[in-house]
């Protein structure tokens, strides 16, 4: 009875290898993913609640939900869904740019949350990292060589998409720089002209004023 249970526990513990952070009650944490268009993003998360009495994190918390909201670069909401204490969310980008993934818990069990801390394990996979190759192998019935070649092709395709997106961003960047440059130039000229004109107006106005007052 001893070692099979230990093996099972070890297998479960092996899943707890990812990055985690602590989040307060109803606190919102947002992550920005800058991605090209037509790219799939898969996010996995797992939550653990702090048990104040035992001073330890509980392995799982049924009833504790997380709300996931994804916004596209224009601010439009792409995904807004409630998941359980453990969840997996997916979305595909249709415009290139900065997508914002926000997570917050909306716990209904205020009393249990007295410790005020929630541990969230998060993993976000973009593009070809999001592909599940074992599944693809089973679905398309691929040999090992075919599967590996398919993976390489996906990798190269993702790099190519990123490069195209880089080109589009660099163009925007260049336009902004050139516009700034132009504005600086025109403003300096305009400033000089305004100063000269103001100076002339001042002198004329004062001169006619003094002449009117018979001081000059």
């Amino acid at each position: 009875m001893g070692w099979p249970v230990l093996l099972l526990l070890a297998l479960c513990a092996a899943g707890a290898r990812g990055l985690y952070f602590h989040i307060g009650e109803t606190e919102k944490r947002c992550f920005i993913e800058e991605i090209p268009d037509e790219t799939m993003v898969i996010g996995n998360y797992r939550t653990q609640m702090w048990d104040k009495q035992k001073e330890v994190f509980l392995p799982s918390t049924p009833g504790l939900g997380m709300h996931v909201e994804v916004k596209d670069p224009e601010g439009k909401v792409v995904l807004s869904r409630q998941y359980g204490s453990e969840g997996r969310f997916t979305f595909t980008s249709h415009t290139p740019g900065e997508h914002q993934i926000c997570l917050h818990s909306n716990s209904t069990r205020m009393a249990l949350f007295a410790g005020g801390r929630l541990r969230v394990h998060l993993d976000i996979q973009v593009g070809e990292h999001a592909n599940n190759y074992p599944e693809i192998a089973a679905k398309d019935k691929l040999t090992e060589l075919q599967l590996r070649a398919r993976q390489l092709l996906d990798q190269v395709e993702q790099i190519q998409k990123e490069q195209d997106y880089q080109r589009y961003r660099e163009e925007r960047f260049r336009l902004t720089s050139e516009s700034t440059n132009q504005r600086v130039l025109w403003w300096s000229i305009a400033q000089t002209v305004i100063l000269i004109l103001t100076g002339i107006w001042q002198m004329r106005h004062l001169k006619s004023f003094f002449e009117a007052k018979k001081l000059v």
Partner: protein, 229 residues
């Protein structure tokens, strides 16, 4: 007699479990390299934790992409709480540590800034993670059929592996370049906004100042005139 039959059964059950756990059914298997970009509001500190096995290598690279000053405090602590790295007001950094078992904590601290929020990009590269690495790469149980070739399959697989690792490296470099470009673009956009704003302010100030000058002078002379009779 009954004991001998009973014991192998849970073992068989456990042997059947790994294929179910591996494709990510319950408790996902996180990847070895991950990057995140997040916004850190002014006056706040945010910490992340990464569990590590023994003798693996943890490389963390961070960059500040946006926010006045483009700097942040960085702090990396070992599982015992010992500070491994403490940097103040840096705009980017790379650190590699050889790990012990436990959760490494790294924090980004924006408490020195009262008004500007920072956008921070960080990337974690994990190496020598041991059996987790092999689990993810072992596709032999999912394939169907065999390949018939002149060349030895192992040679082909070896060159495929080398292509894959080089492509991963290209991907990493792309991520880095993307972060650099995002930072430069944010700098430029803030320059643009600044130029616009201060030009407007300059124009208004000039006009107002010249008008004030003229009217003040006028008012000075009007009083004097009256006293002169």
């Amino acid at each position: 007699m009954g004991d001998k039959i009973w014991l192998p059964f849970p073992v068989l059950l456990l042997a059947a479990l790994p294929p179910v756990l591996l494709p990510g059914a319950a408790g996902f298997a996180p990847s070895l390299d991950s990057d995140f970009t997040f916004t850190l509001p002014a006056g706040q500190k945010e910490c992340f934790y990464q569990p590590m096995p023994l003798k693996a290598s943890l490389e963390i690279e961070y960059q500040v992409l946006d926010g006045a000053g483009l700097d942040i405090d960085f702090h990396l602590a070992s599982p015992e709480g010992r500070t491994l790295v403490f940097e103040q007001r840096k705009s980017d950094g790379v650190h590699t540590v050889e790990t012990e078992v436990g959760d490494y904590m790294f924090c980004f601290d924006n408490t020195f800034s009262t008004i500007s929020e920072k956008v921070i990009f960080f990337e974690l590269i994990l190496d020598n993670m041991g059996e987790q690495e092999e689990e993810q790469e072992d596709w032999k149980k999912y394939i169907t059929g065999t390949d018939m070739l002149d060349m030895k399959l192992e040679d082909i697989l070896e060159s495929i592996n080398s292509i894959k690792s080089r492509l991963s490296k290209s991907g990493h470099i792309q991520t880095l370049l993307r972060a650099f470009e995002a930072r430069d673009r944010n700098i430029q956009e803030s320059n643009f906004d600044r130029v616009n704003f201060w030009s407007m302010v300059n124009l208004v100030v000039m006009v107002v100042v010249s008008a004030i000058q003229v009217y003040m002078l006028k008012s000075l002379f009007e009083d004097k005139r009256k006293s002169r009779t």
